[in-house]
Subunit: 338 residues, 2 copies
């Protein structure tokens, strides 16, 4: 699908015109849930997930057998500042690994029956070092948002967006600090495993970036343009597209959530169609989830990116939906309901 | 498989002759894990799970595509004491629901490709009210242990044991209190949703049971016989059989863990082949998991029983194993390893 915007202003307009969940479907699903052969509430968060899915899909019995996973890859000028445990060329090498089927996300996509799409965003043109200038031009930003939007299969019943980009925990930390405030040190973490010296460099680079762009950062889309990466903009575009198509989204880790945060800061409720798949081991992810008011489904100590935590959560959502759709009611089963 | 014991003494002997994990397979799996295309440790608990599975299955690349779920059902004399939100006839009604495919566990088994087996244990002969006498005779106990042992498919690559039995959170609370001490009120919870008056009755019944059996409870198998249920003994028997066959087990909620606790109290390390699938919403489950020194994979607020939380964890284990087996190494993928 071609993105229905050519300018940033048009994209901003689309964010103000987002559909809400189908209340009737959600109510019907809640009614069904209350009749299923289990004590009330005994399936815990699975019940909440199924009813939420029903609302966004607009049907009493939601489905989760056609999930789509889209991984966006981008390169960051900031990577040259020694903020990562891995060299910048790993981004393109990992894209080749995704394409060859050798990465974690390939195995998880297969396990849960998800369609996996890989989108590289101009890997040979890293964003600018955000301590020196804006990471992206407005044209770069719009192009990346559109790439994200266009990658979404609006016929999918569930979407996971993930990323690959050496240096992008630094960009996500800068973006989070810009949009949520707090100390830089609270937003900077070890990413793929940077050492103490690298962690210090990350914090210094983020502080420089925040100082460099100053008041421009008060606008969330401007903050994304100044500090973010193409893969981050693409995730935001994909999440916005999913909302317009009422496809429920599972958010992944720190970088995904920082990208989603841009939408939430533009329009209240912009992430109502999103579920937090997991909380990662990246130090600032819990803080970011709290700011988004999202309770993660899983907590498995992952810190890989690639959409891997959200992909694992697909398996849980599939279990939830299977129970909701397939269980007998008390009346059907002839079970006494207490 | 016919159980290799006819007496309780023979079962006790088997507990002292349990095989350990295959160290060479575990080491080989750890070596493989360290070469996969991800930062070290970035798959968090998935890595630990895969390596643990490799050790118990005795192969560098463990499998999780033939899981078995066995649900044991039993009735409890104690149910007549008003300790449950549901009447005792629900046990047999829910067994019919399992057999007809209408319960949560049926949907979860299908979702994760597990073979589901239902074993009813003399539902028309509830255990005795443990405040009046021993819940089971030694013959009852041995028969139930054997039913559990014989239900296990030793060719499965993963086992979940679950239960159904109105009144069994009361039995599990009594057993936990007997084996671990502490205040009765710390072990008694709302089960399927008992009200405040019912909760008081539960606590009183548990205290009566502990006082009634006194010093006999210092032997774990005797405690199981005096306070437990047939489905609980069967779970213990199944877990012991799995250990002898080196089939890894995923533990479910409070009742499953209380049953497993009996083995752990008989022989140190008896549950080394068991993973905690989840922590349930039953109040005392976290305390019980801590006593077992098990960190749960999932925390989704479930309190259903039926093996449902452990079944959900199968999905996570399948994702873990898929990553471990299917990912490319740094050398294979030509990715720089930092």
């Amino acid at each position: 699908m071609s993105a229905p915007f050519q300018t940033l202003a048009q994209f901003r307009d689309l964010l103000t015109q987002m559909p809400d969940a189908d209340v009737a479907a959600r109510v019907a699903a809640g009614g069904r849930n209350s009749q299923l052969t289990k004590p009330p509430g005994a399936l815990g968060r699975l019940e909440e997930v199924s009813i939420w899915m029903a609302g966004w899909q607009g049907r009493e019995k939601p489905q989760a057998d056609k999930p789509q996973i889209v991984i966006f890859a981008g390169n960051h000028g900031i990577a040259a500042r020694g903020v990562s445990a891995f060299p910048a060329e790993v981004t393109v090498q990992m894209v080749a690994n995704f394409q060859a089927g050798g990465a974690a996300i390939n195995q998880l996509a297969r396990t849960y029956g998800a369609d996996l799409v890989i989108k590289s965003l101009e890997l040979d043109r890293p964003t600018a070092d955000f301590t020196q200038g804006s990471a992206m031009t407005e044209a770069d930003l719009v192009r990346a948002l559109a790439t994200g939007w266009e990658a979404v299969d609006t016929g999918a019943d569930l979407l996971v967006v993930g990323e690959m980009g050496i240096g992008n925990t630094t960009a996500a930390a800068a973006l989070s600090a810009a949009l949520l405030g707090g100390m830089v040190s609270e937003w900077v973490g070890r990413g793929t495993g940077v050492d103490d010296a690298g962690l210090h460099r990350k914090a210094a680079v983020v502080a420089e970036g925040l100082a460099r762009h100053g008041v421009a950062l008060s606008d969330p889309m401007e903050a994304l343009r100044c500090l973010g990466g193409r893969e981050m903009a693409a995730m935001a575009g994909a999440i916005a597209c999913a909302r317009h198509a009422r496809v429920p989204v599972i958010l992944d880790g720190f970088i995904c959530c920082a990208s989603a945060l841009v939408l939430a800061r533009c329009v209240e409720g912009a992430l109502d169609h999103c579920l937090a798949g997991h909380v990662s081991a990246e130090g600032a992810h819990p803080r970011l989830l709290a700011a988004l008011n999202k309770e993660p489904l899983l907590n498995l100590g992952l810190r890989l990116g690639e959409g891997s935590g959200a992909a694992l959560a697909i398996g849980v959502v599939q279990g939830a939906v299977a129970c909701h759709n397939g269980m007998a009611t008390f009346a059907e089963a002839g079970v006494s309901d207490g």
